[in-house]
């Protein structure tokens, strides 16, 4: 160090000492200086320790980096960048998963593992004797995250929005909902008229997110129906923190009303990541950078067997079931307009190969009725025993020949009038598991003598063909896991047949008797299990005789996790929770949030 700079440093040191002395209370006596300084230090320390005791503000500004031990990293819900936090926006909420469920809450939750409705914002709900009024009592002490109280008026306001704006998805329920009355702050009455669709209503109870009237009343129609609703204020366990193109960050609501009722979710922060490719997602969960991945990762069975990741079941099928993959047949086109051909096809598809080869044992074959395992109570086993189907090419051949189809020179069956049969089975390009599945469908059908080729148009073209009915046969799974068999039958037998079939019955199966049965089921009160079973039995008998579409397998509730940071994940073992390990939008109220509440941090090794 040169002489000059040494002097400079010395000067600086002296200067800073003087400055520091000035900041402290000036001692009257020079001897007291030391003691005073010590005292000041002590009081500073006391200040530091008292800080955490003070109640924290609702939104704690996040530090630059997230503490790993209190952060849950998840992936697999979003397919695009976050763009809307509007709880009524059906299309894009997957990209901000948690907007409904963790920010905005529902009157009820539904537990598909037990088949029970769980009162959430509601403390209880009950019907009057003739099922014309549903009475809801809210819990006491519900609050919005801005501190306002959540009352019956907010619930009424939310349901009334559906009456006012037909573009909201739950608006059709006002055809049979007459009025919603807030009796007092905690009690509500839903009054019905005409022929209520009780099944739909029970489903809506855990799907309509309640919004705060004091913030939403001033919103315009456009803001309510299509607005992005940035910085959402809800009542739930998590608060919006931040987002970017490839992530959403949620912060625990320390003031959440449910903390005392259900328990606080363990992770203080959730970082929901959208990975560009499955490979990155796989690497991240194996390395423990991501705690829970809800991506479909082919070959996860091998990794689970080797202990790299954990899954709900230790062995096949590893995953819980989320929805039914159904092969829709275009019943307006020959030969799919012939029930005999459709039934023969059901016997010609090798579902075991789809399960074992295409999915490497990650899924289960579907019940012939298409109903998910949580709805087993509504399956009429006698009907299934009599009319069910399984892979049996000989049976397929027998049915075809009995119906007059003849074997052509090329080894494929022909129409009874001698025209050759050439059909296509489709799914969107890039959906690798389905692409593999339709390959199996085409191959096994060809072996059984039915000429089917597999084709994979891009999503847009596939979707256009699906809705306008210009396909031969295609896969679809748009009925979500639900509390009622009506959800699936509403997809399969949606009516009336229109030019564009946007949300069901893509094969345009026209059958008034079936439509009447589904309508009848929709009007059975959800509490009348026997009544529902009776109608379901009729539907299943007709469905398996006519075979308008073929349920094939259950798509999995894809979930693999790493227990490096968080533990007490759900599994089918007795000593662990049995909730759904998922972050998909629309599943938080089906047990996803409960999974977070059950999580426990892994003790940090010193």
């Amino acid at each position: 160090m040169s002489r000059k700079s040494f002097t400079l440093v010395g000067l600086l040191v002296v200067l800073s000492l003087v400055l520091a002395a000035c900041q402290q209370p000036m001692p009257t006596e020079v001897i007291a200086t030391q003691i005073v300084t010590q005292e000041v230090e002590v009081t500073r320390e006391v200040e530091v320790t008292t800080e955490p005791v003070e109640p924290e503000p609702t939104v704690v500004p996040s530090p630059g980096t997230y503490e790993r031990s209190e952060t849950l990293y998840v992936s697999g819900a979003a397919w695009g960048p976050p763009s809307t936090w509007n709880p009524f926006q059906p299309g894009s909420l997957a990209n901000t998963t948690g907007t409904i469920g963790n920010v905005y809450e529902f009157l009820f939750h539904y537990d598909p593992m037990t088949g029970e409705m769980i009162p959430w914002l509601a403390e209880s709900g009950s019907w009057n004797e003739d099922n014309t009024m549903f009475m809801v009592t809210l819990r006491e002490g519900l609050t919005w995250s801005d501190g306002e109280a959540l009352t019956a008026e907010d619930v009424k306001f939310t349901f009334d929005l559906g009456q006012e704006y037909p573009a909201l998805w739950f608006s059709p329920m006002w055809e049979y909902l007459d009025s919603v009355t807030a009796v007092d702050d905690l009690n509500l009455e839903f009054n019905f008229t005409g022929e209520p669709l009780y099944q739909e209503f029970s489903n809506n109870l855990y799907n309509i997110p309640i919004v705060p009237q004091h913030l939403w009343a001033e919103k315009t129609e456009e803001e309510i129906t299509v607005g992005a609703n940035e910085n959402p204020i809800g009542s739930g366990a998590y608060l919006y923190d931040t987002h970017s193109e490839d992530r959403n960050v949620w912060l625990r609501n320390e003031e959440w009303w449910g903390g005392d009722v259900f328990g606080m979710p363990a992770p203080r922060r959730i970082v929901d990541i959208r990975f560009a490719s499955n490979n990155v997602a796989l690497g991240s969960v194996v390395q423990g950078d991501v705690d829970l991945s809800n991506n479909f990762l082919p070959g996860i069975a091998t990794l689970a067997n080797q202990g790299y990741v954990d899954t709900y079941f230790e062995d096949a099928p590893y995953m819980l079931s989320a929805n039914t993959a159904v092969l829709f047949l275009n019943t307006t086109q020959p030969p799919m307009d012939d029930p005999a051909f459709r039934r023969a096809l059901a016997f010609a598809i090798n579902v075991d190969d789809i399960v074992n080869v295409a999915y490497a044992n990650l899924v289960q074959a579907a019940n012939p009725t298409g109903l998910l395992p949580n709805l087993n109570d509504f399956v009429d086993q006698d009907v299934v025993d009599e009319l069910g189907y399984n892979y049996d090419p000989e049976q397929a051949a027998a049915i075809l020949e009995e119906a007059g189809y003849t074997m052509g020179d090329d080894g494929f069956y022909q129409m009874p009038d001698g025209t050759p049969i050439e059909l296509e089975v489709t799914c969107p390009f890039g959906w690798t598991d389905w692409m593999e599945a339709i390959r199996v469908i085409a191959e096994s059908a060809q072996e059984a003598g039915i000429n089917i080729q597999n084709e994979t148009p891009d999503y847009g073209a596939w979707n256009t063909a699906l809705q306008s009915g210009t396909f031969d046969m295609t896969l679809n799974n748009w009925a979500a896991l639900s509390n009622t068999p009506w959800t699936l039958y509403n997809l399969l037998f949606r009516h009336p047949i229109q030019e564009q079939m946007q949300s069901g019955n893509f094969g345009r199966y026209e059958d008034q008797e079936m439509f009447d049965l589904v309508d009848q089921l929709a009007q059975v009160p959800a509490s009348d299990v026997e009544g529902m079973q009776a109608v379901c039995s009729d539907i299943q008998e007709r469905m398996l005789t006519e075979m308008p579409m073929i349920p094939l397998w259950y798509n999995g509730l894809w979930a693999q996790w790493n227990s490096g940071v968080w533990t007490n994940w759900p599994s089918d073992a007795d000593d662990t929770p049995n909730t759904l390990p998922t972050t998909w939008s629309g599943y938080w109220q089906l047990g996803g949030l409960q999974t977070l509440i059950n999580l426990e941090p892994v003790p940090v090794e010193e």
Partner: protein
């Protein structure tokens, strides 16, 4: 001078009109229906699908005849309104693009300028130097022939997977939040380096080879031999050669700068870097008419602007252009 730029402006105006028209047409000729796609992702029981469809058709302005849509498109364009993104509904397209542009500029501007500067210098240096020509030139050829994505994957594999020095994807770490702090800046730089390197290396190779060939050509030109014959120092001869050889390189640079917002499509996709390139891919996959239009519009404007600027630059760096204009007016 005025006539020169007047004519140029007219040509640019016409090009802009045609390019934007084509830009508007292309997404609409793609099969599929963006609104149906958007609504089909809803997992709730959509009872009133038709109603919602009509409503959104009107929100996006797709409920009027095509010619009307075209006129509306131009009207909105002059108001600076590019419509609403379907894929990222309800974010306006301008906002989506503006969020992505900084990443592109941050990635491509240094990559393009540095590779141009370094490549040219190096190419000029390597020309006529036997040893360098024989060893480095083949490497340049290999680099410039390498597809961006392949080099990107290779770099990601070596530095990301094997060595584990650099992150594989994204613009910054999943454990940091955007703010002005060293942690964040460091994270951004680490994520930036591999995409930058893959673009830089490929372009560097291209510029170096181009320059090397140009210099050799110029050194063989009559004026070089004449200078040498006059006994000018070698350095001076090379300086003159360099000034002549750089002209075509400037044209090349202008084209590069024109695609500055979208020139790294494959690189961005490989590293899932959130720039316009990634947006274009997503817009195509999701049939987002408006986003796709917006992205292409940026490219069109970028290329035209860059060409226009280069027209000016040429006047400055190439005396012959100025002479030509004088001759024209005289």
């Amino acid at each position: 001078m005025r006539r020169y730029f007047g004519r140029k402006l007219l040509i640019y105006g016409l090009t802009f009109f045609l390019a934007v028209t084509i830009d508007w047409m292309i997404p609409r000729f793609m099969p599929g229906d963006p609104i149906a796609n958007m609504l089909s992702r809803a997992t709730v029981n959509v009872e009133n699908a038709q109603l919602m469809y009509d409503y959104f058709e009107q929100v996006f302005g797709l409920d009027v005849p095509l010619w009307r849509q075209y006129l509306n498109f131009w009207a909105a364009l002059f108001r600076g309104d590019l419509g609403i993104s379907v894929y990222m509904f309800p974010t306006p397209v301008t906002e989506v693009i503006m969020r992505a542009v900084p990443y592109d500029v941050f990635l491509l501007l240094p990559a393009i300028l540095l590779s141009w500067y370094a490549g040219n210098k190096f190419g000029a240096f390597a020309a006529r130097s036997k040893w360098l020509d024989n060893t480095v030139l083949p490497i340049g050829y290999i680099l410039t022939a390498t597809p961006y994505m392949w080099l990107g994957i290779l770099l990601a594999w070596v530095f990301g997977v094997v060595l584990g020095i650099f992150p594989l994807a994204g613009a910054y770490g999943f454990d940091v939040r955007p703010q002005f702090s060293w942690t964040f800046i460091w994270s951004v730089l680490k994520h930036w380096f591999l995409p930058f390197a893959s673009i830089f290396l490929v372009r560097f190779g291209g510029w170096a080879i181009g320059m090397r060939n140009m210099i050799i050509y110029e050194l063989d030109a009559d004026y070089s031999h004449y200078l040498e014959a006059l006994g000018a120092p070698r350095k001076l001869v090379r300086q003159y050669a360099y000034r002549n050889a750089i002209l075509p390189q400037i044209t090349g640079l202008s084209l590069d700068l024109g695609i500055i917002v979208a020139g790294a499509l494959v690189t961005e996709v490989v590293f899932s870097y959130p720039g316009i390139g990634t947006l274009i891919l997503q817009a195509i996959q999701n049939q987002d008419y408006f986003l796709l239009q917006g992205c292409f519009l940026f490219i069109i404007i970028g290329v035209l602007l860059a060409n226009f600027v280069i027209d000016f630059v040429y006047v400055i760096v190439d005396p012959r252009t100025r002479l030509g204009m004088v001759g024209e007016t005289a």
